[in-house]
């Protein structure tokens, strides 16, 4: 009985260790879709003249997944809705830390600069669909490793 318990504990631990590298996964499978379609759908919000550093990071992410960036032109709230509905993968634009969209989409840390003292001050960030935790972690890593 105790042998069985040990082998169960060992296989559980092995499963957990094997899972460590592959966790987290996306709730709606965005990463897999990007790899399958070989395209990452990106919308740049209007009035984002400094989007280049964010696009460079996303381009690097897309290359790692054998995909390319596909720009999807959308405006204002349509873009937020499209992100929430999974019609686009990421949204690049200026968002404040205390953005009213904060609960509905997953905002990255500021791209290519530090966090401003003023929580209401909008700066360049990458917004991802809530729950797409693999994509969120991967892009969070790129933002933190990128230039400040």
């Amino acid at each position: 009985m105790s042998g069985m318990r040990h082998s169960f504990a060992l296989s559980f631990a092995a499963l957990l260790l094997a899972g460590c590298d592959s966790l987290p996964r996306d709730a709606a499978g965005t990463t897999e879709r990007i790899e399958r379609m070989q395209a990452m759908r990106v919308t740049i919000l209007p009035d984002t003249p400094d989007a280049h550093p964010a696009l460079a990071l996303l381009g690097a992410y897309a290359r790692d997944h054998h995909a390319r960036l596909k720009l999807v032109p959308l405006h204002g709230e349509h873009a937020h809705k499209a992100l929430e509905d999974g019609e686009i993968d990421v949204l690049v634009g200026h968002f404040a830390k205390a953005s009213p969209w904060q609960a509905d989409i997953a905002l990255s840390k500021p791209v290519a600069r530090g966090e401003p003292d003023d929580k209401e001050h909008p700066v360049l960030r990458i917004a991802r669909r809530n729950g797409e935790n693999a994509l969120i972690l991967a892009t969070d890593r790129l933002v933190s490793e990128g230039p400040r």
Binding site: G19, L23, G29
Partner: protein, 300 residues
């Protein structure tokens, strides 16, 4: 100790032990709240766990307050002392337990109905960005240990001093470690991309918390409505109360015997004229003699 105030010598050491355990509870659960708040990020599941932990401090606080009041001397304004503070504390503790269960149900059901996909992203520590979920799981493992140990130590003490507040607090500790386990399952589920895992696990645990809370609430209301003393862990009549009724009936014949509970103490009323010799509490209740605070008879 006087007739209506103070703590009997027979249980004084255990009550002090209970108080020490509650101070430790405040310290440990307080530290859990701080650790969890540090890693909760934007996770709703973690936010719920923190709120649940804060609410779970209520029974410990009301136990300490009621033990303090129990020692206060009776006075002209409160001639029966403050022993019923324990009954009131029991109602508050049971309500806190019910609030925790209700809150968890509300959070889980709204998450499931709205199909909210929980986001747990990365956190950068010492130049490395790791998944915040790992830190959350570590904090949750820490949050499970103190309630698991404290809850188990409290149960026998609560039984010895017949304290329903301390017993409800042990139930709260059970709720604490169970929600901690559920949250670990939930965060792991989020890791696997199962957005519903967290809320479903919490809902499952919340139903068992509500069951415990409703039981405690029924006992608390019975106590405040002068019901016959109830057992510590159910709404059944307490065994020592049943024995006391039988002992009084054996002594005074088939007369009406009414018992009610004030905190941990029993007051008995026998429907006959006062006898020439009034039995002692030890004769009637044996080892639990301290429980019998008063025995009254019908006037001539």
């Amino acid at each position: 100790m006087s007739l209506h105030s103070g703590i009997p010598d027979a249980i004084a050491a255990d009550v002090r032990h209970g108080e020490r355990l509650e101070w430790w509870t405040l310290l440990w659960i307080g530290s859990v709240v701080v650790v969890m708040a540090l890693v909760m990020g934007a996770s709703q599941a973690m936010k719920s766990a923190v709120i649940e932990d804060v609410l779970s401090l209520i029974p410990a606080i009301v136990f300490l307050l009621s033990a303090h009041w129990e020692r206060k001397r009776a006075n002209n304004r409160f001639p029966f002392g403050y022993r019923r503070a324990n009954s009131l504390a029991f109602l508050v503790a049971a309500t806190a337990l019910l609030s925790v269960g209700g809150f968890l149900i509300y959070e889980s059901v709204t998450t499931l109905v709205r199909q909210e996909h929980p986001t747990v992203g990365g956190i950068t520590l010492f130049g490395h960005t790791l998944w915040l979920g790992w830190l959350m799981i570590a904090a949750l493992v820490y949050s499970i240990i103190p309630p698991l140990i404290l809850g188990r130590i409290k149960q026998p003490v609560a039984k010895r001093i017949n304290d329903k507040v301390l017993h409800t607090d042990a139930l709260m500790q059970k709720a604490d470690w169970q929600t901690g386990l559920a949250a670990i399952a939930g965060i792991t589920g989020i890791g696997f991309g199962w957005w519903w895992a967290d809320a479903s696990a919490a809902l499952f645990i919340a139903l068992s918390i509500i069951k415990d809370a409703v039981g405690a609430l029924r006992q608390a209301v019975a106590e405040l409505l002068d019901g016959t003393p109830r057992a510590l862990d159910s709404n059944a009549i307490a065994e020592d109360a049943e024995r006391l009724i039988a002992a009084l009936k054996a002594r005074f014949g088939d007369v009406g015997v009414r018992l009610r509970e004030t905190g941990r103490y029993i007051a008995a009323e026998v429907d006959c004229a006062p006898p020439a010799v009034i039995p002692s509490a030890t004769e009637l209740m044996g080892d639990n003699a301290w429980r019998l605070a008063s025995l009254s008879f019908r006037p001539q």
